[in-house]
Structures are given as C-alpha cells and as structure tokens.
C-alpha cells in the first residue's frame, strides 16, 4: 500500500480501532494517550490528514470527507469519554467524603441558657404596667426604720410591726439601727419624697423577713405599685388590678374579690382574691368557684402622704403589693418557694426561660 493508496477500508478499520481504544480507556491518563496517538502531532489521524495535500482531486474528493469525518467522530468520542470519566472521578471522591449526618449536634447556647422565673416575671410585670404608663422604681435593700416603718404609718411598738419579722443590723452609736427592708414600700416613700405628683411607679425588688418554711423564705421578692395624683380612686385601682390579672394570667376575664383588710400605710385597705379552680394540684384562673389571695392594696393613708410632704387634701392615690415569687408559682405551677433560691440546674432548666423568649404584650408574655 502506497501513501496515496490508503484504502477506504483502512480508514474504517482505524476508526473502529480508535473508538475501541477510547472506550477501553479507564482514566483520563489512558484517554489522553489515545488522543495523542490519534490526534497528536504524529498521531494516526494527523498522519492521514497530512496525506490529503498530495492526493489527486478525485481521490481527495473521495477520501477527504472520510478522513475528516474520522477526525470529528474520534474527537467527539474522546470528549464524551472525558466528561464521563471526570464525572465518575468526582462521584468517587464525593462518595469517599461521606459523613454520618445522624451524629447529634451540640445545643445552641441560647437554647441551653435559662433566665430565672423571677427575672422573667419582673419583665412580664414591666411589660404590663409600662403599657399603663407606669415607670419602674428601685431602692436599697438596707433601709432605715423611718423609711421601712415610721413614714409608712407603723407607730412605734404597734403590733403591725410584729407582723414583719425584721432582720436588723447592729445598733449604731446614736441608738439607730438599720434593717433589711421587709417590703418594697420604702421605695414608694423615696419616690414620693423625690418626685412631684403625678406619680405612677411599680417597685419590684428583694425583701426580707426572718421566716422559713415551704411558703416563706428569709428572702423573697415583692412588687408594689403606687399612683399619686389629684383624682385617682379605689375604682381605678380595681380596674388596674383586674387588667393586670387578665394580662398576667393570660385569660379573657377573671373575677376578683376585694376584702377589707388592714395595712398601716393604706386606708381603706383591702386584700384581693382571684377566682380559680383547683384541679389535681393544678390551678386554673378565670374559672371555678375557689378564691386565692394574691395581693394587698388600698388608698394611700393620709399620714403617709403627710410624712412624704404631700397634702392629703390635695393629693390622693393608691398602692398595692404582691409577692413576685408567689405569682410566679401560681402562674407557672411551682409548689415550693425554697427551690427558687437553691440554684438547682434541673429546676432552673425546667422552670426557667430561654433568653430569646422575651415577654412582650405584642408577642405574648409567655409564648
């Protein structure tokens, strides 16, 4: 066979040989060798293409398309094979990278952390009362006898003082002795002394009495409210407390019972019971025939106004107070006050709140 004498049958055979070699190539290196052997500078197809120039026109007319067709088909086969091999290689690599996606994650810190129920309830109270125009006032835990008792119309030696088991500090050289506040009412005194009416504040904080059992701890939390202006009366107080109870206990309506009672700093004074139903240790509010005492309240005593520099003929107002820990227990169903202060992470984890569950009236206090 001469150079000019390449037979059509040889072209066909070369094609079938090359296509077989392409499909036999196991990886990209082998495929590249086939490509170089066929289409490289001295490849078999390249050699054939070089012969075209020396052919007679007739011969070229016959064999030209055959050789060029051979080049295109083999080239295409190599390209296809390359893609297939690349994809297989990627799949193999990805398969080798497989991990066990069922492995458990660490919990997000914000899901683990807890805010104490007392803090949460103070935030709830603040949300409700700030909506009614109340500011939040605070004062020191260590108080004078004057602010804790005398200015609040507890006469010296009056049995009402004995209702408060007071913690005292040592007597000072001038005969006075400081104490741990037995209620947050001294904050009301401080507010009235430092601020001109109209006054609307709530005073949450720590309070202390020398008492310890399932429902009493030597330290506990109270929130008190105070309104002083020229027109606010008992009817307004009832409304505020009803609104508060509905919002706090998250019920549509709730019956409340106001019973006359006695506190030295209010006159008239009342204790307030809230309607409830007790069901196997659970308390439901806004239904049932039982009453549960939740707070004390009344119109600010004229003597207290006078002691705080306000004329009781010009100014009037009301105050109320309740246990934060107690209303937290009632709402969230804890049964032992002492556990609030034991820092047992099991209890805190169960009764505490997630940091991002911030109580708002818009988003729900406890949702």
């Amino acid at each position: 066979m001469t150079v000019h004498g390449v037979a059509m049958s040889d072209i066909a055979k070369l094609e079938s040989d090359l296509l077989a070699a392409v499909s036999a190539a196991k990886d990209e290196t082998a495929l590249e060798a086939v490509r170089v052997g066929a289409l490289g500078k001295s490849g078999s197809i390249s050699a054939l293409l070089k012969t075209l120039g020396s052919m007679t026109p007739d011969e070229r007319k016959e064999k030209g398309p055959a050789i060029n067709g051979l080049k295109d088909r083999v080239g295409a086969a190599i390209a296809t094979a390359r893609e297939t091999l690349a994809s297989a290689a990627l799949n193999a690599r990805l398969a080798s990278e497989t991990v066990d996606v069922t492995l458990p994650l660490r919990d997000t810190p914000a899901e683990i952390g807890r805010v104490h129920p007392i803090s949460q309830v103070i935030d709830e109270l603040t949300a409700i009362f700030s909506d009614m125009g109340f500011a939040v006032a605070e004062g020191p835990d260590i108080e004078t006898d004057d602010y804790n008792f005398t200015k609040l119309n507890f006469p010296e030696g009056h049995p009402a003082r004995e209702m408060h088991d007071t913690f005292y500090f040592p007597q000072k050289s001038d005969g006075s002795r400081l104490l741990l506040r037995t209620h947050t009412s001294p904050v009301q005194v401080r507010t009235m002394l430092s601020q001109k009416p109209p006054i609307r504040v709530i005073c949450p904080g720590r309070t202390y009495r020398s008492d310890s059992d399932q429902t009493h701890t030597p330290m506990f939390h109270q929130v008190e409210g105070l309104v002083i202006d020229k027109t606010s009366h008992l009817g307004h107080l009832k409304w505020i407390l009803e609104e508060f109870c509905k919002a706090f206990f998250e019920v549509d309506s709730v019956k409340m019972r106001f019973r006359p009672s006695f506190f030295p700093f209010t006159e008239p004074s009342m204790e307030v019971d809230i309607q409830c139903r007790r069901d196997k240790g659970e308390i439901r509010f806004g239904e049932g025939n039982d009453w549960l005492e939740i707070l004390g309240c009344g119109m600010v005593h004229p003597n207290v106004l006078r002691n705080c520099g306000l004329d009781p003929e010009e100014y009037q107002g009301f105050a109320w107070g309740m246990g934060i820990d107690r209303i937290a227990m009632l709402k969230y169903g804890m049964n032992d006050l002492r556990a609030f202060f034991e820092a047992d992470v099991r209890w805190l984890n169960h009764y505490g709140f997630r940091p991002l569950d911030f109580p708002t009236l818009a988003g729900g206090l406890s949702s």
């Binding site: 009614m132 260590i142 008992l234 409304w239 106001f258 006359p260 008239p268 004074s269 034991e342 820092a343």
Partner: protein, 809 residues
C-alpha cells in the same frame, strides 16, 4: 379570735344562715379563716353506760366492759369492749364508738378486734381521741344523768360550729364576740343586742387601796378599778360556761378564773382576780425594780426590769400588769374573798414587755391593741354580777384610781370624701345609719358632718378611716371598676439605666448558655471575708442561720456554693450567673448591682461536657473574659475604650486573671480562674472560672439628639491584608502589640487581629512570637505597592519602639 355560733347569737339577733354570716364577716374585713364543724364526724360517738367492767382474764391492766348504748332496753345484748383506761369502772357513763368509726385523735378506723383472746366490738373514748381536748388520762367520765344513746357532741355542745377570724391588728374592738356582733349589725343581716351591764351597789368600801406610783416617769397605767367580793364559794364553773371555753380551746379552771376568761372573749375586757386573803396590805401599781422576780400563773419565774409595769402589795410583785397574774395571789377552790381588777394599760408598754419576756396571753393581745376605756368600770360591774351569780358573795364599792375617761374625738367629715377616695356615693341616710350602727355619733346636715368616734375604736383617727367604715359595710364589690387612662404623656422607656443594663446582662449571659441563679443576699461571715467583705455594719444582728449572717460583698460566694451543690448532685459541668445587689457598706450608695458568672469543669460556651466534635477542655480565663465582655457589650459599655490589666483581687489566680477598667480610677470588673487556695478554703472542687462586672461602674453614654446612626461610608477600594510576626519578650502584652500597630494610622488601619502566639523551638527562650494580621482600607484611591510598603515599615518601627519587638525572619 374564735367563737361559737350560739355565743354570737347572745349578742346578735338574726335569721341568717351560718354561710351568710361567714360570708358577711369576710366581706366586712373580719376574714373567716376557718369554720370548724365537728358534728358530722363525731355523730357515731354516743353516750354509753358501762354495765360492768371486769378484769381481763389474760391481762392485769385491761378490763372487759359490757356496754349499753340504749339497745339493752330493746332486748338486745350489751356490747363487749376491751378497755385499757385506768378509770373504766362498773356503772360509769362514758362515750362509746362502735367498730367502723373513724377516730380523729388516732387517725384510724376501728375494726372488731381480739385482744388477748377476748373480742372487742368498739371503744370507750377519751376527749383526746375525739380531738375535743388534749385530755387522754382516761375515758370520758360523764355525770350519772347523761342521756344514754345521745351523740356526745350534741350533749356536750361541742358540735356547735366554731368560727375562727383572722383578725387584723387594728380591730381591737373585734377581740370580743360583742364587738363582732356590733360590726355585723351594721350590715343589716341582723341586729346587734347591746346587753349593757347593770350597776351593782357596793355594800361596803373597798378595803384595799390602790396607788398609781410612777414618780416622774411616764405613767404606764391611766386608770385602775378594783372591787372586793367577799364570801364567795369558788368551784367548777357551770357546764354552759365550761362548754363555751372548751369550744374555743380554753381550759376551764375554776369559776373565778373562767369568768375572767369569759369576759376577755365575750367583751374584750381582760380582768384579773386576786385571792384577797393572799394579798398583804394595799396595792401599788408601779414600774418593777431591776431584778425583781415574779412566779407567774404559767409556773415560770420571770425577772423584771424598770421598763415593766407591775401590781405589788407589801410582800412584793403580785401580777405582771396586763399580761399575767402571779401564782402566789391566784384564786383556787379555797378562795373566799376575791379582788377583781379592771384596769387600763399603756399599749406600747404591754407589747414591749410581752415581747421581752416572751409571754403571749389573751390579755396582752387585747391590751396591746387597746381596750375600750369606757368599759373599764362597766366591765367590772358585769364581772361582779357573774361572780355573784356563780359564786355568791357580797360586793364592795368600786375603787377607781386614775381616770379612765378618754378624750373624745370628733371628725369633721365632708360627705364628698367617699366619692373622692372610693368613687361611690352614699345617701345621707345610709351614711348616718351605717355610722350609727357601728356606734359612731353623726351630726349635721348636707356636705359637712361631725362624726364622734366611739371609745372602742382607737383605730379611727380621720376622714379616711370613716371612708373605710362606709365602704367596707357597703361592700367593696359595690365600687365600680373605673378605667384608668394612660395619660397624655409620650411613651418613653420606663426603665432606669441600671434596670436596662440588668435586663440586658441577664439575657446576654443566658444567650451564652449560662443559667441564672438567684442566691441569698446573705452569706456566712467567712465567705464575706474571703471576698473582701465582713464589715461589722453589714453583719445581721439576728441572722436566721449562722451561714446566712453577712450581706454579700460579691455574688461569687453564692455561685461557687451553688455550683458545688450541683456537682454533688451529679451535674459537674454547670455555668451559672446572677445579676443582683452586692454590699460594700450600709448606705444606699454602697449598694451596687453586679453581673457575675461562674463556669465549672467542662461548661464551655461552645457546649458543656464531652462531645464527638472535639476534645473536651476545662473552662479557663478566656471563657470568663468572653462572658464578661458579653455583659459589657450587652449593657452598652464602650468596649473599645476598656483596658485589660493583668491581675485581679486575691480570690482569682494571680497569673490567669484580669481587671477591666477605664483608667485605674474606674474599675468595671474582673475575670479569671479562681485561686486554688480559695477553692480549698471553701472546700469546693474546680476548675472554676468566673467574672464580676459592676454594672453601676459602666459610664453612661452621652445622650444623642437623634437616633440616626453615623453615616456609613463604603470604600470603593479593595482592603489589603498584611501579616507580621514579631518576636517580643514573653511578658510583653499582646494588646500592646495590637495597639502599637493600630495607632500607626487610625484612618487607614481598620483592623488588627492576633492570629498566632508561639513560644518554643525556633524562638529564643524568654521570648515569644506574636503574629498579627493588619487590615488596611484605602480611602481615596488604590494604594501603590510602595505606599503599602511604607505603611508596613511604619508598623514594624512603631511596634518595635513600643514593645521592643523584632520582625521575625
């Protein structure tokens, strides 16, 4: 304050049911705490006749009794009961309960028993077993005429409902059944019956004189009434009286003593009776002398002082005024001449003395609240009548020392006051009727009334008190709930700066996986001292327990103890925090709000305990630092301006702790690993890392006129990052390297981070390599290589100048 329904009805005519009465009492401020109605439970306990009581064949101390509860007359057999009571005897009347009865005093239900071979079909009972008294000396021994077959409670009157009122300390008038009836009468569910005492003519002058002798000191006895009744015969009081006293938990003693107790509860008028024959000479009411003693009626001897008031005769102290009488001059069954005392005492002094000596008596309870001065003499008349009625005798005239007459109080009451304070109106008629039924005297027409306050209402001083009387009788439920407008003020934040910081600090720490604890504000003295506290002025005079004695100087003490308790319960990896008050002194400005956190063992912020994703490492100083900075950022501190100085107070690890400050004058907090000696002193295990931030010490940001944020300028040019590694002395602080680099050009250099710190092979001993990445942000144009190189050269020079660092080759 306890009383029975029939007792109330002595003073109160009503057709109202028990429930109505109880409800009304509560709604006028006499809160009914408890209504005890034993009748249902005690129905099966019937009066029985013991036909025979023979010795048990197999037991010396037991008797076999044959009992009749009325069935024998119907031809049935007596019931056989084995009884261990020493007083069981043939022919006695007692109380029997058949098998199947619940015995309240023993909390068991009786069954038919076999006791040492003899069947027993029930039980003969003591008072204790019925829970009628504490008496369990023997079975109830009833008079021969007790009706067999009748329930014992009906016979004894013990079945009557006993109402217990939780009396508020202002209502001294309601320490008596009479006073409660008067209050109820104002509600119109019945009518109060006054039962005014009659005057009893004395047959002879009272032979014992009384002197009130307080010298120049404050008098403790405004008035003292005394009367002798001679020729009395003292003994057990009649059954009706005994039943009433028993029903309210008092123990009948003898007629004279029972009369004083009855007067105390019926009229709120405590009295004292002396056996006149045991009193020597005349009586003096005076202050006790220091060290004087009295053997009181409770059998105890009290040592008295000059702050206390006593009644003495020529021998010495016979009675502790207004609180308790003396044993020596007490009345017993041999008393024939009795001196009855009805006096007034200084309420404050009575409270003080009672508290000091630890004596609580029904007399003290009333005198310290204030008794009706106008009833001092009528009370004595009433007691005399009772004595003569129950014990006979001949009364002397009444001797009164001092003057019991109180100052009359008339209140100028504007009718509009009720509407002003309460929001309701009452008619003239209704106002007047309520006040008069309560014993006030109301005069005047129209807007202004004059209201005279009765002598038994020491709690009523002014208009507000009158308002209270009117509203509690009208019913607080009649006051309409009135919407309370928010007001026209703009809505503003209601929290103070410190409250806002407190709230944010809590959420910030909880968001780092920490759990909020609320621990006691007090710690032990030792704990206080370990954390820089322990000042004497912060130690409670009367702590509830030794380990809760001092106000806490730091929240760490409570958190460390809590962490250890959790570890002891099996939860070693805990991260706790608290935001609360600490005390540096006893003035209001010495109280600070601290945010404090503590991590224990493996409680890292990235997750507590072991996990497949990485090796568990113990908590360290950087966990504490990160927590502290979370608080600072959350609370709005100027984090860029904060300096970190190595070292912290003694309770921290000296080499692994830091102080956060803005200049040495304003320390904001500390962080670090806790000192091993502290852990040893507190007997707790570590590792522990913690921090304390004083929220009050964070400077307040200047108020801005607008809430708009500073204009954001976005550069059009690519930032360039250059790395440098400096070899510095080991003691050189990384922060100084960073600051030196940063300060080279505050405009172009927008970030410097430390990405490697290395000590070891390749670095000279005593030195370390600190590698920083500096981000350069071109502002106006792209920087040329030459410009960047020039800046890099300045950085190297500045770091070298400030820290002695050499660029690592």
């Amino acid at each position: 304050m306890k009383f029975t329904l029939s007792w109330l009805k002595d003073h109160f005519d009503t057709v109202a049911s028990l429930d109505e009465i109880v409800d009304k009492l509560t709604m006028i401020g006499l809160e009914v705490e408890h209504v005890e109605d034993k009748s249902a439970q005690l129905k099966p306990f019937v009066i029985a006749s013991v036909i025979s009581a023979e010795k048990h064949p197999n037991a010396d101390r037991l008797r076999v009794c044959m009992v009749d509860i009325g069935q024998v007359a119907k031809g049935e057999k007596p019931i056989q009961v084995v009884c261990g009571a020493p007083n069981a005897r043939t022919g006695m009347k007692s109380v029997f309960s058949p098998a199947g009865t619940f015995i309240p005093g023993k909390n068991i239900t009786l069954t038919v028993g076999n006791i040492r071979g003899v069947e027993s079909h029930g039980m003969l009972c003591s008072e204790a077993e019925l829970m009628l008294s504490e008496d369990h000396d023997g079975i109830i021994d009833l008079p021969a005429d007790a009706p067999v077959g009748t329930p014992y409670v009906d016979y004894a009157g013990a079945a009557e409902p006993v109402i217990e009122i939780n009396l508020t300390p202002n209502r001294s008038d309601c320490t008596s059944v009479n006073g409660i009836a008067r209050d109820l009468g104002a509600t119109l569910i019945g009518d109060y019956r006054e039962n005014a005492p009659k005057r009893i003519e004395g047959k002879f002058p009272c032979p014992v004189k009384v002197t009130l002798d307080f010298g120049a000191t404050h008098p403790l006895c405004p008035a003292f009434g005394l009367r002798l009744v001679r020729g009395v015969k003292n003994g057990p009081s009649p059954e009706w009286l005994q039943k009433r006293l028993t029903a309210i938990g008092l123990r009948p003693i003898n007629a004279l003593v029972d009369i004083t107790n009855y007067m105390t509860f019926d009229r709120g008028r405590p009295l004292h009776v002396f056996d006149a024959k045991k009193v020597k000479g005349h009586l003096t009411v005076r202050r006790a002398e220091n060290g004087e003693t009295l053997l009181a009626l409770d059998g105890k001897t009290y040592t008295l002082d000059t702050a206390m008031c006593v009644i003495a005769d020529e021998k010495g102290v016979e009675s502790l005024a207004g609180i308790m009488g003396g044993e020596e001059s007490g009345c017993d069954e041999n008393t024939t001449d009795v001196l009855i005392e009805s006096a007034l005492w200084d309420p404050f002094n009575i409270a003080q003395t009672g508290r000091k000596l630890g004596i609580n008596t029904d007399a003290r309870y009333r005198f310290e609240r204030g008794v009706d001065p106008n009833f001092m003499v009528p009370g004595l008349e009433l007691a005399t009548a009772m004595v003569m009625d129950l014990c006979g005798g001949e009364p002397s005239e009444i001797l009164v020392a001092g003057d019991p007459t109180p100052k009359e109080l008339v209140i100028d009451y504007p009718v509009s006051e009720l509407e002003r304070l309460v929001g309701i109106k009452l008619s003239q008629t209704e106002t007047r009727r309520t006040l008069e039924r309560l014993g006030f005297f109301a005069a005047g027409q129209g807007e202004r009334m004059k209201v005279a306050v009765p002598s038994w209402r020491p709690d009523v001083h002014g208009r507000a008190d009158i308002v209270e009387e009117l509203v509690r009788i009208a019913g607080v439920d009649k006051v309409p709930s009135t919407p309370f407008p928010r007001g026209a003020n703009a809505r503003k934040p209601v929290l103070t700066t410190i409250q806002g910081r407190t709230r944010k600090a809590k959420r910030a720490l909880a968001a780092r996986g920490m759990t909020e604890a609320v621990t006691w504000s007090f710690v032990s003295k030792r704990e206080a001292e370990l954390f820089g506290g322990g000042k004497p002025e912060l130690a409670l005079a009367n702590p509830i327990a030794a380990e809760l004695s001092d106000m806490r100087p730091s929240l760490l003490a409570g958190l460390i103890a809590s962490a250890q308790k959790n570890a002891d319960r099996g939860y070693p990896d805990v991260a706790l925090f608290e935001v609360g008050q600490i005390f540096k002194g006893d003035k209001p400005e010495d109280q600070f709000i601290a945010a404090t956190g503590l991590r224990r063992a493996l409680a890292k912020a990235s997750g507590a305990g072991r996990h497949w994703s990485g090796k568990a490492s113990p908590v360290d100083v950087f966990d504490a630092k990160a927590d502290a900075f979370a608080v600072l950022a959350g609370a709005g501190a100027p984090v860029q301006a904060l300096q970190i100085v190595p070292g912290a107070p003694a309770w921290f690890h000296p080499g692994r702790s830091g102080t956060i400050q803005i200049g040495p004058q304003n320390v904001i907090g500390h962080f670090g690993e806790l000192h091993p000696s502290l852990l040893a002193a507190l007997k707790v295990d570590g590792p522990l890392a913690g921090f304390e931030v004083i929220l009050d010490n964070i400077p307040v940001a200047k108020a801005k006129p607008t809430r708009a944020k500073p204009l954001l300028e976005l550069s059009a040019f690519q930032p360039v990052e250059r790395d440098f590694a400096f070899v510095v002395e080991s003691k050189v602080k990384a922060a100084d390297v960073v600051r030196a680099a940063q300060n080279v050009d505050k405009k172009l250099i927008v970030g410097v981070t430390v990405f490697d710190v290395y000590e070891g092979t390749g670095i000279e001993p005593g030195k370390k390599s600190v590698a920083i990445a500096v981000t350069i942000q071109p502002r106006d144009k792209t920087m040329t290589d030459a410009e960047i190189e020039a800046l890099a050269g300045k950085i190297v020079a500045e770091v070298s100048k400030r820290t002695g660092g050499v660029l690592r080759g």
